[in-house]
Amino acid sequence: MAETVAAQAKKEPIISIKGLTKVFTLGKEKVYALNGIDLDVQENEIICLLGTSGSGKSTLLNMMAGLEKPTKGSITIFGERVDKMSERKLAIFRQKNMGFVFQAYNLLPNLNAIDNVSLPLAFAGVKKRIRVKKAKKMLKLCGLGKRMKHKPTQMSGGQQQRVGIARAFVATPKIVFADEPTGNLDTHTTIEIMEMMVRMSRENHQTLIIVTHDTEIAAYADTIYHIIDGRICSVEDNREHQALPPEGHIGDLAADEPEVGSEAGEPELEMPAAEAESSPQEEEIGRILQNSQIPNTLSTEE
């Protein structure tokens, strides 16, 4: 079943997972969190690990990020065995190659938006002047030009997650992991956030790995892996039905827009949805597509 979509790929996969198994021992019982996962991810691919709570999707992501060690199997990223790396090497590896977007945003509460975003650059030893410049640019790109000096507690959930996205992308990592990135957000903001992540990763030719239980979110991916009880039970090639409109550049977002994503989101919802590219998919996806135009219309406003 885990045949993967490798057939389509001509190039070497950047992430290659073979026979990944994780066993937890609960008393006398052995629980398989992951049970023989085989998975290849291509460069610039957006994949989604879709599954219910407890299916093992988060464990899989954690292992790819080197945060957990597998019981069996291997994870190779850029030719290096992540599962065999030391903590020290992992820190540097993550610093160079990985960005993270979390469900709970995980911003540092005492740092303002700029400092939070520039954190990965600071860890990489980038000079303050340069990293602040990059962070500001990134924040503007995410429509937070007016909130750069705000601390996480002074921002709404959507804004915080945008800071989180800015932080994940600021160092232009080759892989970005997003673990339930919209789990704490309302539908409207969810679409905004997903749009933004997908756009950014497309623009920079990054690989995006999304973990979710939400099929609407999964619709943004090129490939959807359905995970049930630690196994990949089906792989769905979603390229043709993708939820994201192809046109529109990240640069468009760079405009310093006022009050985006804040409570003032209501009027924008009335914006023409007709421009939305029609899709032959089910109603659900159609709705997402309509809503997905919002960031664009907002930015083109000025």
């Binding site: 945060l67 820190a91 610093q95 993270f100 979390f102 469900q103 995980n106 005492n110 860890f123 000079k127």
Partner: protein, 487 residues
């Protein structure tokens, strides 16, 4: 991560929890102040002893005696060497040639005589301090009027007198002016002590000028002598007591010995041979426990003692040891000082221990604060690790934060110590020093030398870093996974 960023992160975290940082710093302040104060009292006590002992005699001075044996503690018998080095001119010369770090060497002894002025007035207080005239300048004496004794005065009875001497002459008959009063600071002399018109003379005869001349006996002829200078007043004594009690006459030792012989002859003529005054000149014979000491090469022990003045206090023990190795006995104020300091060593180590305990408590408090801080920041640390913060940078941040607590606490602690020190000294001024057996009104109980400031600061920082070590390592071991777990 750049070093400056690690510092700025640490500083931000330090300032973030103001109340807790302040309390921890307070702990370090108290710890540092405790150590500094306790040590400063130890230092002050040592300094007090030093002042006290140097008021008895210069710390740089070593007194040398011939070695005459010692009690064997096992047999309980006095063991005398077969031969011993005498104190004579050969020995003095040897000291001058062979000893290093020596400023002056002089034989020394005490002489005594009534002093007569203009054949009218007497000064009965004067003992005569004997020394080698040529070494007087090197011995640290200083003349306020006239000059010190020098090579020209070797073998003569020329003398120098203490500032008080001119004030102590009195008319025997009228008892006027009253004697026994010390000169005040820079008080004007009652007469010009160096004037050619003033005639000084020495006699051993108690009745001179006092009793009617017994014409049946040979005449008493006082020994005339010339004064060449007056010494400066002792400033410390003037400051402490308002006067300087030095009433001595200073004369060349050989000149005096010669005069002593003449005075003896003169005296004996008067008293007759049956009442001959027995005096010993120098140390011509030397008995210990009824046994005569044999001196090397049949030489004679000319001087009772020789003093050696060392160029620096730090060399006194070495020079002393060299002298003992050369076969002499020594005594110095340093010996007394060592004894006193030895006796209070226990007290001082207890003081030090109290300080150390306070410091240890401060160290625990730093460690505790840092551990608490890690518990609070578990999630943050996890996030930082996930985002790619190197382990050594995380460790660095915590170590620097702990060091900041140490430095800030240490600096404030040192500043605080100065206040406490001043307070202690103020309280001790009212008799507190005597409680520790220090009788030196001049010195302070608590003294903070500059090295102590620096040492305290370095120590506080080091303690900060050391107590931060465990929490910092702990921080690097936290699971990054905890941070990204959804809640």
């Amino acid at each position: 991560m750049k070093t400056i960023d690690i510092f700025s992160f640490a500083l931000t975290n330090f300032l973030r929890r103001k109340a807790r940082s302040a309390l921890t710093v307070l702990g370090v302040i108290i710890g540092t102040a405790a150590v500094v104060i306790m040590l400063s009292i130890g230092i002050g006590m040592n300094k007090g002893f030093e002042d006290q002992v140097s008021s008895w005699g210069d710390l740089k001075t070593i007194r040398v005696y011939p070695y005459t044996g010692q009690f064997n503690e096992e047999t309980g018998e006095y063991e005398m060497p077969d031969e011993t080095e005498p104190l004579d001119d050969i020995t003095v010369q040897r000291f001058r040639d062979e000893l290093e770090h020596v400023k002056a060497v002089s034989p020394t002894d005490w002489g005594w005589s009534y002093m007569v002025k203009d054949n009218k007035e007497r000064n009965d207080a004067g003992s005569i301090s004997l020394l080698d005239a040529s070494a007087m300048a090197d011995m640290g004496y200083e003349a306020v009027y006239g000059r010190l004794l020098d090579e020209r005065d070797v073998g003569t009875t020329n003398f120098v007198m203490a500032y008080n001497v001119p004030f102590n002459f009195y008319n025997v008959r009228t008892e006027d002016p009253k004697y026994g009063e010390y000169a005040k600071a820079d008080e004007e002399f009652p007469f010009d002590p160096l004037s050619d018109k003033v005639k000084y003379a020495f006699t051993w005869y108690y009745g001179y000028l006092r009793q009617a001349v017994d014409t049946t006996k040979p005449r008493i002829v006082p020994e005339e002598a010339k004064c060449v200078g007056v010494l400066v007043q002792n400033e410390t004594n003037i400051k402490n007591y308002g006067y300087d009690n030095d009433c001595d006459i200073y004369m060349d030792i050989n000149g005096y010995y010669a005069m002593q012989e003449r005075l003896q002859k003169n005296q004996n003529k008067y008293y007759g041979t049956e009442n001959e005054v027995g005096i010993s000149i120098g140390g011509s014979s030397y008995y210990v426990n009824g046994q005569q000491v044999n001196f090397a090469d049949g030489r004679e022990n000319k001087y009772n003692s020789v003093i050696v003045i060392v160029d620096d206090v730090d060399h006194v023990r070495d020079v002393s040891k060299t002298l003992i190795d050369m076969g002499f006995e020594t005594s110095s104020a340093m010996d007394s000082l060592d004894r006193m300091q030895e006796q209070t060593k226990f007290l001082r180590s207890i003081l030090g221990a109290i300080g150390a305990v306070a410091f240890f408590v401060a160290a625990i408090s730093i460690a505790n604060t840092m551990v608490m801080s890690i518990y609070e920041r578990t999630r943050e640390i996890g996030i930082m690790k996930v985002i790619g913060c190197k382990l050594k940078d995380i460790r660095g941040m915590f170590l620097v934060e702990a060091a900041i607590i140490g430095i800030v606490g240490g600096a404030l602690g040192v500043a605080f110590s100065y206040g406490i020190s001043a307070l202690v000294n103020k309280l001790a001024a009212g008799g507190g020093m005597e409680a520790f057996g220090i009788y030196s009104s001049d010195s302070a109980l608590s003294i903070i030398p500059p090295w102590l400031d620096i040492a305290a600061l370095v120590l506080a920082t080091a303690v900060g870093v050391i107590s931060g070590l465990y929490p910092a390592i702990r921080a690097t071991r936290l699971s990054a996974l905890e941070a990204i777990k959804n809640e």
